[in-house]
């Protein structure tokens, strides 16, 4: 069958993959409707975790009103924004992370590589948990509660900045997460890499200014969970800076390009070293 080429231009390839992702999404929604109890359980667990994470914040601020310029309301808002970022990640990225090392270990990667789709696209975005999307709503609610209690000045510009920053944060964290998990190729590790990364992410629940400088830098540029939580809240309380937004966008593009390189390198290793 020598018909016209599959992807004559990059736009064609992009559209084909977008259509594929939509297929991933519809099928995951249909599947979720068959397992309604899990759906509810996800929601309940998410709520419990949210409440649970607010306890230390409330206790913390029972002893003081201000830490490094952050009031209780600000930190609650941070918890809410963090929740929104986590919801996006747990919706479209997290379900894939643990599976990546499984693909390698169980040899299922072969069946992915043999198909005419971007392998990186597939391993990052194949599995979706639609139930998690509702945690965005709870996150929004908490954010609004926090902002109401806080000291900041909310404006349209700040909201826009925050939204862009959250998207950048999600892209950056996803890229870092995927890159780390992919290193399973080298170490053929059986460890829970994906869970460890998820634990590291928890640092984003608190403002970066709570941490010593080195750690602040780490979470801003090496594992940029800062873009997913602290910086958007800065924007929402009126401390926003368009430079940060620009840096965020640039870093996101860079991260994706680097990730692609890393993937090709990893696949070359996989194709050379396995049997």
């Amino acid at each position: 069958m020598t018909s016209s080429p599959l992807d004559p231009t990059f736009l064609h390839a992009f559209r084909r993959h977008l259509r594929l992702w939509k297929r991933f999404l519809t099928q995951s929604v249909v599947r979720e409707t068959h397992y309604r109890t899990q759906f509810i359980a996800t929601f309940v667990v998410g709520l419990l975790q949210l409440v649970f994470s607010l306890i230390p914040v409330l206790l913390l601020y029972s002893f003081t009103d201000d830490i490094n310029g952050w009031s209780r309301g600000d930190v609650i808002a941070l918890g809410g924004v963090y929740q929104i970022s986590i919801a996006l990640l747990w919706f479209g990225i997290e379900p894939n992370m643990e599976r990546i090392s499984l693909y390698v270990r169980q040899g299922d990667l072969d069946l992915i590589l043999i198909r005419p789709v971007s392998g990186l696209f597939y391993v990052m975005l194949r599995w979706i948990k639609p139930a998690e999307i509702f945690m965005i709503l709870t996150g929004l609610a908490v954010t609004m509660v926090g902002l109401a209690q806080g000291s900041g000045a909310l404006n349209a510009g700040g909201i826009l900045q925050a939204m862009v920053l959250v998207i950048c944060g999600v892209i950056l964290v996803s890229s870092a997460w995927t890159a780390i998990v992919m290193s399973a190729f080298w170490f053929t590790t059986t460890g829970p890499v994906a869970t460890v990364v998820a634990d590291v992410m928890q640092a984003g629940k608190y403002p970066l200014s709570f941490y010593p400088t080195a750690i602040r830098l780490f979470f801003s540029f090496v594992f940029p969970v800062g873009f997913a939580s602290t910086f958007p809240v800065d924007a929402l309380v009126g401390r926003g800076d368009w430079n940060i937004v620009l840096i965020g966008i640039t870093l996101s593009v860079l991260a994706l390009l680097l990730l692609r390189r890393w993937w090709h390198f990893a696949i070359r290793f996989y194709s050379s070293a396995s049997s």
Partner: protein
């Protein structure tokens, strides 16, 4: 089955487990990174609060020492056997253990001990690094009696937690999915045993109840012994409770497990 026979079996199982587990070296290192992360983050956050002038019921030394040791002690007093045991009950796998001499729990106990051995080795460097960073504010008692009490209370705490695991797993004889129960228990325990933050930081009106509830004696009390503040009276009362709770837990677990087994074998294993 005599005690020495039981111990011999457990020792053999521990060695087998240990050897098998060493292959998964990276896995253990990763688990330990996870273990150390939450306390490290909490430590940094509470120190930031202190640095900003917050007046806490405890001082910087207490906080820092507490969080530095938290990862290790929490690991040593932990148990993960509940879900596996419940799964075995659900799938009927415990049949193969019931027909063998010796307790069904030998395997679980051996696994618990061997993994803790490996995890201690894997965790040590991380604790050392954390200690090094905060060496100026970490204060440990020189009184050897405290350390003896510390070790004893860890053992007692570990027994209590293991027994509680068996207790919740026993529910699987009647209930289909105990995952929810374990999850709720985990959340509750994390707060009440001092895993999230030192119990001393909880609101003053709750302190009376906090002091005597069983979860305190599955982690917090062990840490409190070496981290400071306990008067002799506190120690005596605490130690008494520390020794009572494991006994209660084991008795309760034993009773429920036997009850469950009877129900299980009555239907046909």
């Amino acid at each position: 089955m005599t005690l020495s026979q039981s111990l011999r079996i457990i020792r053999r199982l521990v060695i087998i487990d240990f050897t098998g587990a060493l292959i998964y070296r990276a896995e253990f290192v990763m688990f330990m990174v996870s273990t150390i992360l939450a306390p490290a983050i909490s430590l940094l956050v509470w120190r930031a609060a202190l640095a900003n002038g917050a007046s806490l019921p405890v001082d910087a030394e207490y906080l820092t020492t507490y969080f530095v040791l938290l990862g290790l002690v929490s690991m040593l007093t932990s148990s993960w056997t509940s879900s596996f045991l419940a799964e075995d009950i659900r799938l009927g796998n415990i049949s193969k253990w019931i027909i063998r001499p010796g307790s069904t729990h030998f395997n679980g106990i051996a696994n618990n001990l061997s993994e803790k051995m490996i995890k201690s080795v894997a965790l040590a460097p991380f604790i050392a690094v954390l200690w090094w960073f905060f060496r100026d504010t970490v204060v440990l008692p020189s009184d050897p009696l405290r350390w003896v009490l510390f070790l004893l209370s860890i053992v007692a705490a570990a027994i209590t937690v293991y027994a509680l695991d068996v207790l919740t797993a026993s529910l699987a004889f009647w209930i289909d999915d105990i995952g929810g129960i374990n999850y709720a228990r985990g959340l509750l325990a994390a707060i009440l045993r001092g895993q999230l933050l030192p119990l001393a930081l909880l609101p003053a009106w709750s302190q009376g109840f906090i002091d005597i509830q069983p979860f305190r004696f599955t982690l917090s009390f062990s840490l409190e012994i070496v981290v400071g503040n306990l008067t002799t009276q506190d120690l005596v009362l605490g130690t008494t409770l520390q020794l009572i709770y494991p006994v209660l837990a084991v008795l309760a677990a034993r009773a429920l497990w036997q009850r469950g087994l009877r129900a299980y074998t009555a239907v046909g294993a």
